[in-house]
Amino acid sequence: MSVAREFTKGLWDEIPPFRLVLGLCPTLAVTTAAQNGMGMGLATTFVLLGSNVLISLLRNVIPKKVRIAAYIVVIASFVVIVELSMQAYFYPLYKVLGIFIPLIVVNCIILGRAEAFASKNKLLPSIADGLGIGLGFTLSLTFLGAVRELIGAGTLFGRYVMWESFEPLSIMVKAPGAFVCLGLILCLMNWIGAMQKRRQG
């Protein structure tokens, strides 16, 4: 597969939360607003890109038997860097995301890409893979956050956009709203997929 293909697969065919249904913990927990989803997505993208690059470079050095331990050390280091810089420069976002930033370490998307892709591929495809999957994850979280914020609070990125007599459906910004919303999006994605398949015969 070409480098461009490695990048674009993360945006639709293998878009993490909706197609692979991976990384659901942050997907459900932090998407109460578009901005939070975007922050979480970007933090994850940084970690994913960093770990993919390092693991791809080290793929011939790391012995097979201790590879998981080595991957986790690499991933955890990037997560701590993200956490420290977020605390230093984006404190309000750091407060909102809270425990879910350190939990990026156990996000199975990242270890999954390291194990399934970066450890078997050269640097350039690994960068494309990390960026694509990360961007797909960011877009998904931002979209989910935007939908929940719009229906649940009537705002988008913190700005009020709905008409005046709009009654916010506050369940959407609470935990059950995350499940409902994710379910509907999954349904829509599958429906679009089925339509495409039928058209192709």
Binding site: V61, I62, V66, V73, V74, L84, S85, Q87, Y91, K95
Partner: protein, 194 residues
């Protein structure tokens, strides 16, 4: 055997590199992180107790060593000076005393003449609806303009401060914290201005 040694060496090197990078990142962001925590945790109370300044009291903060704790380590205290045209016009700093239930931490603003400019409760664990009402401006507003020679006690103890009804202990805690802050003012002022 060779495999074993390679595994140990590779893992050790990766962990060592990671530790090196992380300690560097920790150093590089420390100052900025401390500033952010103070800004978001303390700034609202500082703004509530100081007025008419044109500097950033958090950026200009002075850290003083005030006595020692039980283990003999020096206690560090952040003093936030309010400046106007480069001259210190007031100081704000935290103080704490026991209320009805646990510590009550207050931020006290005191102008250069030793007069209280404002009092704001930062953290407390008082009873909701009763002792917790000490955070209301109706109570904290009473301290404004008082000096050390004023009777800084609740009315029940022969002082000037109306306690929140049904919450004498909580009110006493706040008054004690404010009085302690005023008592240490002359010492702190000398250190900060010199």
């Amino acid at each position: 055997m060779r495999d074993l040694i390679k595994m140990v060496v590779v893992l050790t090197v990766i962990c060592a590199c990671s530790a090196l990078v992380l300690s560097f990142a920790n150093q590089a962001t420390r100052e900025q992180r401390e500033y952010q925590v103070l800004k978001y945790v303390k700034e609202p109370s500082i703004k509530a107790v100081l007025t008419g300044y044109d500097n950033d009291p958090i950026k200009d903060r002075v850290t003083l060593k005030m006595g020692t704790d039980k283990k003999g380590k020096p206690i560090r205290k952040n003093i936030f000076p309010a400046k106007k045209g480069g001259k210190v016009i007031a100081l704000a700093y935290g103080s704490a005393a026991t209320g009805y239930h646990g510590l009550i931490e207050v931020m006290v603003g005191i102008d250069i003449n030793g007069k209280i400019t404002g009092v704001s409760i930062m953290t407390h664990t008082e009873t909701p609806g009763l002792g917790a009402r000490v955070v209301e401006p109706a109570f904290t507003g009473q301290f404004k303009g008082l000096v050390l020679s004023d009777a800084l006690k609740v009315k029940k103890d022969g002082g000037k401060i109306d306690s929140v009804s049904g919450a004498t202990f909580s009110s006493r805690g706040v008054v004690t914290a404010v009085r302690q802050a005023l008592e240490s003012f002359s010492k702190i002022k000398k250190e900060v201005i010199s």
